[in-house]
């Protein structure tokens, strides 16, 4: 009897947690989709039929705490802090507020990193591997509280310049919104 009950508890726990990819350590990246860059849309307007394929598996980085944490590490390693500070902004715009000039969806941020933007944001095409750009994009979103708390990084082993991403309240993005980005 007791065995059955314990089994039931375990099984229900598995069904609840098993559906969640928060804990995946994505160590080997899936084969790169080399053309994703050009498929990310900045605007919702398309000539003709909407045949542009979805960037593959970008969501997998948004859902994995490990990937977001890697993004955080890269944000430091690639000196993003040089312009954006730790999200507070400097030479570049702040990333922890609600104002998203070029959109707040992962694809938008990915495109921003890859293509660069006028007035200073360089293009990191070829410099940053695509999966890392997705990881950085996921991290940038966590800075504005756009990721679930279970995925967002907690405090780092650095000076605490700002509250941890996991305790940042969710922002309402302004700027480019409503883009039909990443149809399911």
């Amino acid at each position: 009897m007791q065995v059955r009950l314990q089994l039931m508890v375990v099984l229900s726990a598995i069904t609840v947690l098993g559906s969640c990819s928060r804990e995946d350590r994505i160590l080997r990246q899936p084969p790169s989709a080399s053309n994703t860059l050009n498929t990310v849309q900045i605007s919702g307007l398309n000539p003709g039929a909407n045949l542009i394929p979805t960037p593959p598996s970008s969501n997998m980085y948004q859902e994995s705490a490990y990937s977001v944490s890697e993004g955080q590490k890269l944000f430091e390693a690639y000196n993003c802090v040089g312009c954006h500070a730790h999200g507070g902004g400097g030479i570049g715009p702040p990333l922890m507020d609600s104002n998203w000039i070029y959109g707040s969806e992962p694809g938008n941020i990915f495109a921003t990193i890859m293509q660069g933007r006028p007035n200073g944001m360089p293009s990191f095409r070829n410099r940053i591997p695509e999966y890392q750009a997705w990881e950085i994009a996921a991290y940038v979103r966590s800075m504005a509280g756009l990721l679930p708390k279970g995925v967002s990084p907690n405090r780092t082993d650095e000076m605490n310049i700002k509250p941890a991403e996991s305790s940042t309240p969710k922002q309402t993005p302004t700027g480019i919104t409503g883009v039909p980005e990443q149809p399911k």
Binding site: N160, P163, A164, S167
Partner: protein
């Protein structure tokens, strides 16, 4: 089986029917368990105190970049703690005599003091001059006072429950002993509370 072959034993007897079915003070088993419990909690406090001083050796400035916590509510709370020993002592003294009225009154006052201390504690948090996310010093201060608040809250609830029982006819025998043990635990909360106060208000100013 073996017993069948042995001569029938006629054991002596030890008659315990006259023994009391309730004991006060150190003879009570719950009293002993309470001592063990206080040893566990005391160990936790001791380790947190050690943590506090250990982290202090790792910092040149203490408190690092904060004003020491403001004294107001902390001092008031310390005073309440000291005064509250009186009803606790009363309960502890009168419970073995079976004086239910005195126990009820004592518990009532104890509950009121505990409530006052808990409310003041809430204000105390606003005068710490730091948030727990600031640095290691702030974290230690918050956790020290937080752990103690947990004990305070537990004790408040326990006292209220005992107070409620004391309005029923069930406040008798072992319940009276429990009320007396509750006072011991309150002493523990007072002593640790004063020690925490010395640490976070005293050592930040005078050491």
């Amino acid at each position: 089986m073996a017993s069948l072959n042995e001569p029938i034993r006629t054991p002596l007897t030890l008659d315990v029917s006259a023994l009391p079915s309730v004991a006060f003070g150190h003879r009570n088993t719950t009293w002993l368990a309470n001592v063990f419990y206080m040893a566990i909690e005391g160990m936790m406090f001791a380790l947190m105190f050690a943590t506090y001083f250990y982290l202090r050796t790792r910092s040149t400035e203490w408190p690092p970049g904060h004003l020491p916590p403001a004294l107001r509510y902390g001092a008031a709370n310390a005073a309440i703690f000291l005064v509250s020993i009186i009803p606790a002592w009363l309960v502890r003294k009168r419970a073995p005599e079976g004086d239910r009225r005195a126990v009820r009154n004592g518990l009532l006052f104890l509950a009121l003091f505990a409530l006052a201390a808990t409310l003041l504690r809430a204000f105390e948090f606003t005068t710490l001059n730091c948030r727990w996310t600031d640095d290691a010093y702030s974290s230690t201060v918050w956790v020290l006072i937080g752990i103690h608040s947990g004990h305070l809250l537990t004790e408040l609830i326990e006292t209220i429950v005992l107070l409620l029982i004391s309005f029923t006819p069930k406040m008798e025998g072992t319940r009276l002993a429990d009320a007396a043990i509750n006072s011991d635990y309150w002493y523990f909360v007072v002593i640790t509370g004063l020690m925490v106060d010395v640490l976070i208000y005293g050592t930040t100013r005078f050491l």
